[in-house]
């Protein structure tokens, strides 16, 4: 059990509660009417939030990338009701000490979070944090490190993840998050050709990865009409 500190947590990654199991619905509201004061307490939190635009941090447990509410079910419920995507939380992390893979993954993640200051990045396979940390370190090393990694996150990681999201890769790797696919592509190019070719658009990098893994996107220039046109233009040139 480790104190993971105060952090901003994506509400959709809060998947359960610790001691109210079976009592709450998916919006963290009581399924059965609890007592007369319940709706007043809920109303009070909503009013306070509307007035101050702020909720005190909730207490969460983190286990295998998912968050469970220890204290603050009503605040989470209010945040969902208000359509918020993120909430402040004080997080305690649980790691199975007998599982070496989990342990080393958690170490990589904590190192990544401490060195880069980025805590909102979630991977399904935590060994990928080491790859991301090395990439963030290599990016603009002259600057103040945390500032450099923040710009790596906003200028490199997020735009590339958006391109990955728009490709067919999330359909091919359903059990992976976008960040995991980013790591997968990066590691493939590192192993195969000493890193991603520079000065190349990331969409081309993705299509290279797709090709190398036998997942070629549809190519219009391979259609019959284009091939016929090509034959006319490039007569007498045989391709092996």
């Amino acid at each position: 059990m480790m104190d993971a500190g105060l952090r901003v947590v994506e509400i959709k990654s809060i998947t359960g509660t610790v001691d109210k199991c079976g009592e709450l619905d998916e919006h963290f509201r009581y399924i059965q009417r609890r007592d007369r004061g319940e709706s007043a307490r809920r109303y009070g939190i909503l009013q306070a939030f509307k007035k101050y635009s702020f909720l005190p941090p909730v207490d969460l447990n983190l286990y295998k990338g998912e968050y469970y509410v220890v204290d603050g079910n009503r605040r989470v419920s209010a945040a969902i009701h208000m359509g918020m995507s993120y909430i402040d939380a004080s997080v305690t992390e649980y790691i199975d000490p007998d599982n070496a893979l989990d342990m080393s993954g958690a170490i990589h993640r904590r190192r990544f979070e401490q060195e880069t200051g980025i805590r909102s990045l979630v991977l399904a396979y935590e060994y990928g944090y080491e790859f991301l940390r090395r990439e963030a370190v290599a990016y603009d090393g002259d600057e103040d490190f945390s500032r450099g990694s923040a710009s790596w996150y906003s200028q490199v990681f997020l735009p590339r993840c958006k391109m990955i999201k728009n490709s067919i890769l999330p359909v091919q790797y359903r059990n992976l998050r976008t960040g995991d696919i980013y790591v997968l592509i990066g590691e493939f190019y590192n192993n195969f050709m000493d890193g991603i070719p520079s000065h190349v658009d990331y969409n081309s990098i993705i299509s290279g990865y797709l090709f190398a893994h036998g997942l070629p996107p549809r190519r219009r220039l391979r259609s019959y009409v284009y091939r016929l046109f090509a034959r006319l233009l490039l007569r007498n040139l045989k391709v092996g």
Partner: protein, 161 residues
């Protein structure tokens, strides 16, 4: 030729090169997995990596029309004519299907033949295009093909020695 037609022509020329490089990549990738080729693993990995890089560059060029600071790992000391020109038709037959009992020597000879074919192919393409950026890309691919051919010849010598 009008501008849109010229652009289409450029894309089709690049597509030809792309098909060629994709076949080459598939061939090298297939032989990379053969246990009989374990001694040549580093060379084959290097070549297939360079083939993949070429594919990415060609796709980029097709998409954008130009590539900024093209990176090809080629040794430009060697001239164009370091390989003997053989008839394109005899060199560029169908890509061979690998058989389980093919010896490393045979497999590398196929690869050498294909690299020589690549050189002739790019020379032909260079003659057929006036687009300077495409010219530069094909020149680089030609140099790369020559370098691969030399490396494979060297590897063949060590195998047969």
């Amino acid at each position: 030729m009008g501008k849109p037609l010229r652009r289409l022509h450029a894309r089709i020329v690049l597509e030809k090169a792309l098909v060629f490089e994709e076949h080459a990549y598939h061939y090298y990738h297939a032989i990379l997995g053969l246990t009989t080729m374990s001694n040549s693993f580093d060379l084959l990995k290097k070549i297939s990596g360079q083939k993949l890089r070429a594919i990415i560059m060609l796709k980029e060029m097709q998409r954008k029309g130009r590539v900024k600071n093209i990176e090809f790992s080629v040794d430009k000391r060697y001239g164009h004519d370091s390989l003997t020109s053989t008839d394109l038709d005899t060199l560029c037959e169908e890509w061979p299907n690998l058989k389980p009992d093919d010896s490393p020597d045979t497999i590398l000879r196929y690869a050498l033949q294909k690299e020589k074919c690549a050189c002739l192919f790019y020379r032909k393409l260079i003659q057929r295009t006036r687009h300077t950026d495409i010219h530069e890309v094909f020149q680089n691919l030609l140099h790369e093909g020559e370098e691969h051919a030399r490396d494979i010849e060297k590897e063949l010598k060590t195998i047969t020695a």
